[in-house]
């Protein structure tokens, strides 16, 4: 432990020394820290005066926390400069090879550079926030609570780790600083969106919700650090001089994995698909389990909490049942309004969206969306229960016939997506990040083409042609 820390600190100390001798880093940082809080303070004062005239209490109450978040974020943008430079910069200057030829381990190099990338901008960020708070404290404005301040500082810290960890992943994978800078937009744009989302949370006024943002960002950062460490390879840093896209090789690798050893379509189904399912055993259990938890938790939440918001008087229940009945009349027209191919397309698109969300979040966002869908089913069953329909009967006739195929397909696609995310953050000494991604995507497409597509097609036909009939039969009194 001590030896590891010494080695990490050795790498970090040299970087710190280098940074503080580079006026191109020190001067802009110092300017940002010394000038921006004053500008922000003046802007806050004018905004407070303006808002006070119109009584914008909600905005006034949360203006300072919002400005703190922004002030803290500006110096963090330097994390990108420092982190992007970390590996590809050294590679371009030729200083990386002596370091890689030394007995320092991968984790020492990686974590040493991560430490520097996080610490310097964070110190400047907190310094900037500190100056701003001192300036604000001179005015007659409501100062944020210590709890809120702590949350924002934590959030700023989480942003720093998120940006540095993703920038270092880019720095390891890029071959030139120029390409790394271009790829940095993949960090800046999502973080800008994230900041906007957090701003909404701040103005929403519920401090505790910020914990979700902190935990979400921390989880993603943790996964990014894991991804970076898993795919940090000396070979990868030195083995490539230019980025060449070998489409032929890419196609060959993908095709070989997708087809496997199958010589015919039938063998592919009989041998390769079961082999893929075998690999998916663990993610399938996790995904199905989380789906069930989301369904039952949502059902229970609706049953317990909704009556507190809606009064279920006999008249109200009658109104709701009538509403359902009116909608069921529309079920006759369902095949016209939503033809089976269109429904199939929507469902297939949803599974692809799960994959895309999973790809940018190592499975977490895709899994969240999946759970949200199951929670929706649970919520509908809870609502049915509240208006006097049997939730079991509703499930058996309204969900199960097509759900047997559709939910299975979604569970399979989500499990395959989760495996893609898990493989990305798992160390594999033989494969690069690109190869791992390509192979795991080939596995996902195997499941998608071989199982999900046929299952969703059958589900769409049943949902349009059979489910409405069964609902009508089960609830003839409507």
């Amino acid at each position: 432990m001590r030896r590891n820390w010494d080695a990490i600190w050795l790498v970090a100390r040299r970087e710190f020394q280098d940074q503080f001798r580079d006026w191109r880093i020190v001067v802009p940082m110092a300017l940002l820290v010394s000038v921006f809080p004053f500008i922000a303070d003046d802007t806050t004062r004018q905004a407070v005066n303006f808002m006070s005239r119109f009584g914008g209490e909600l905005i006034l109450d949360n203006l300072i926390p919002f400005v703190i978040l922004v002030i803290g974020f500006f110096p963090l943008s330097f994390t990108l400069v420092v982190a992007l430079e970390a590996f590809v910069g050294e590679k371009e200057r030729g200083t990386i090879e002596p370091l890689l030829s030394s007995p320092l381990e991968d984790k020492h190099l990686y974590l040493g550079k991560l430490l520097v990338g996080i610490t310097t901008p964070l110190v400047f960020s907190f310094l900037s926030i500190g100056i701003y708070l001192i300036l604000v404290s001179r005015h007659d404005v409501e100062f944020p609570s210590a709890y809120m301040l702590a949350l924002i500082l934590l959030l700023t810290f989480a942003h720093a780790i998120l940006m540095v960890s993703s920038a270092i992943v880019i720095s390891v994978q890029a071959t030139t600083i120029r390409s790394a800078n271009l790829m940095a937009s993949f960090v800046v744009v999502p973080v800008a969106f994230l900041l906007q989302g957090e701003t909404i949370l701040i103005f929403w006024g519920n401090e505790d919700v910020l914990w979700f943002a902190i935990l979400g960002v921390a989880l993603l950062s943790g996964l990014l650090v894991r991804l970076g460490l898993a795919h940090f390879k000396r070979e990868y840093l030195l083995g490539r001089e230019i980025d060449t896209l070998n489409f032929k090789n890419t196609y060959r690798v993908f095709r070989d994995r997708f087809v496997g050893g199958a010589k015919s379509f039938l063998t592919w189904y009989r041998v390769e698909i079961p082999a893929t399912l075998e690999q998916l055993k663990q993610p399938l259990i996790i995904v199905a389990g989380l789906g069930m938890i989301a369904l039952f938790a949502s059902y229970a939440w609706v049953i317990v909490n909704v009556p507190a918001y809606i009064e279920f008087s006999p008249e109200r229940v009658d109104d709701l049942r009538k509403l359902v009945s009116d909608n069921l009349v529309d079920l006759d027209q369902l095949r016209v309004r939503l033809p089976a191919p269109l429904l199939f397309f929507y469902n297939a698109r949803t599974t692809i969206v799960f994959l895309l969300m999973g790809l940018v979040s190592f499975g977490t966002l895709g899994l969240t969306l999946f759970m949200f869908n199951f929670a929706l089913v649970g919520g509908v069953l809870g609502a049915a229960d509240l208006v006097g329909f049997s939730p079991l009967l509703t499930f058996v006739v309204g969900v199960l016939p097509h759900g047997l195929f559709e939910l299975t397909a979604v569970i399979l696609a989500t499990a395959a997506m989760l495996r893609v995310g898990a493989l990305l953050v798992s160390p594999d000494t033989d494969k690069s990040l690109g190869e791992t991604l390509l192979l795991s995507l080939a596995d996902w497409f195997r499941v998608f083409i071989g199982l999900v597509v046929p299952l969703l097609a059958v589900a769409a036909v049943i949902e349009i042609y059979l489910t409405p009939v069964l609902i009508k039969m089960a609830f003839p009194f409507l």
Binding site: L10, R14, Q17, R93, G94, T95, E97, S101, P103, N249
Partner: protein, 312 residues
């Protein structure tokens, strides 16, 4: 010691940067690895320093397998990279101290090694200046000092004297020779053929990832340029007519004032040639071996590999 067998590296799925390289370099030996840019020299060295994993074959460096013990190899090998790789904002002393720490040297040893290397390479006066202010030659010397900081048993040196002035280059060559005498195993990748000729015990020529030739300088000369040639020079025109040459001697060329012989066993036949010439009253001024440079060996090998005519 460095041993490798069928060492190969494939990039991008289909490009063999190194293909079947086999070498055996004993302690106290220097191998010069020659080849064009992109021939596979750097990739070979990187595989031997456990920076790249071989696609095929195996290698043992300083007694360790490159695949199984990369950490031990890095700790026992000194590498001078193609680019000097200095941190420009560090002083020479700080730089050596940093790498001393990286290689786990104790404080006292580190100080001694720093001092010794800085003085040896004539950098002591510039030790407190940032390396960004150094001349090219000074940078190269500092990089070489870095490669030697942990007193490694194996040295892999890529262009060790490039950008150096003649005095500095000579200093570096002396240091390399000294290291050989202290039983270090050394590989030098270089384009400086005179340097390779002066330093190397063994020379390997690599072309498109394959070793075309590997052996001592004399072996390579004999193999590529044929038997040794000797030239007899005369003080004036001399008509040799039909010479009675001993077995194993071939007349390679003639002019009015000189004759050139291709000789298999000079110790045996040279006295006989001289006797034949003097018995014919030839105005002999000198009889000596025709100098053949590594450059000729290299250029002819390359020309043969590329299928073009070699213009000697």
């Amino acid at each position: 010691m460095i041993e490798c067998e069928d060492l190969s590296k494939k990039y991008n799925g289909d490009f063999w940067a190194v293909d079947g390289v086999s070498l055996n370099i004993q302690p106290g030996q220097i191998l010069a690895l020659l080849g064009q840019n992109g021939a596979g020299k750097t990739t070979t060295v990187r595989m031997l320093t456990a920076l790249l994993n071989p696609t095929r074959g195996w290698a043992r460096v300083a007694g360790y397998d490159v695949m199984k013990h990369p950490h031990e190899i890095r700790a026992n090998v000194g590498v001078l990279t193609e680019q000097h790789g200095l941190y420009m904002r560090m002083t020479g002393e700080e730089y050596l101290d940093f790498f001393g720490r990286v290689y786990g040297l104790e404080s006292e040893t580190r100080k001694k090694r720093n001092q010794y290397l800085l003085e040896y390479f004539g950098l002591a006066e510039a030790a407190h200046r940032r390396s960004g202010e150094y001349s090219k030659g000074m940078k190269q010397k500092l990089a070489l000092a870095r490669a030697l900081i942990h007193d490694p048993s194996v040295l892999l040196l890529d262009e060790p004297t490039s950008a150096m002035d003649p005095e500095s280059a000579q200093l570096v060559r002396s240091e390399i020779a000294r290291l050989r005498s202290s039983k270090r195993t050394i590989i030098i990748c270089t384009h400086n053929l005179a340097e390779a000729e002066a330093l190397a015990d063994t020379i390997a020529i690599i072309y498109r990832g394959r070793i075309l030739l590997n052996g001592s300088l004399e072996e390579l000369k004999r193999k590529v340029l044929g038997p040794v040639e000797y030239e007899a020079q005369f003080s004036g025109p001399f008509d040799a007519g039909e010479l009675e040459l001993p077995e194993g001697v071939e007349l390679a060329s003639r002019s009015a004032t000189s004759l050139r012989f291709r000789v298999d066993a000079p110790l045996v036949v040279n006295p006989k040639i001289v006797h034949e010439l003097t018995s014919r009253k030839a105005p002999l001024v000198s009889f000596q071996e025709v100098s053949r440079k590594l450059e000729q060996v290299y250029l002819k090998t390359m020309a043969d590999a590329q299928g073009v005519a070699y213009a000697s």
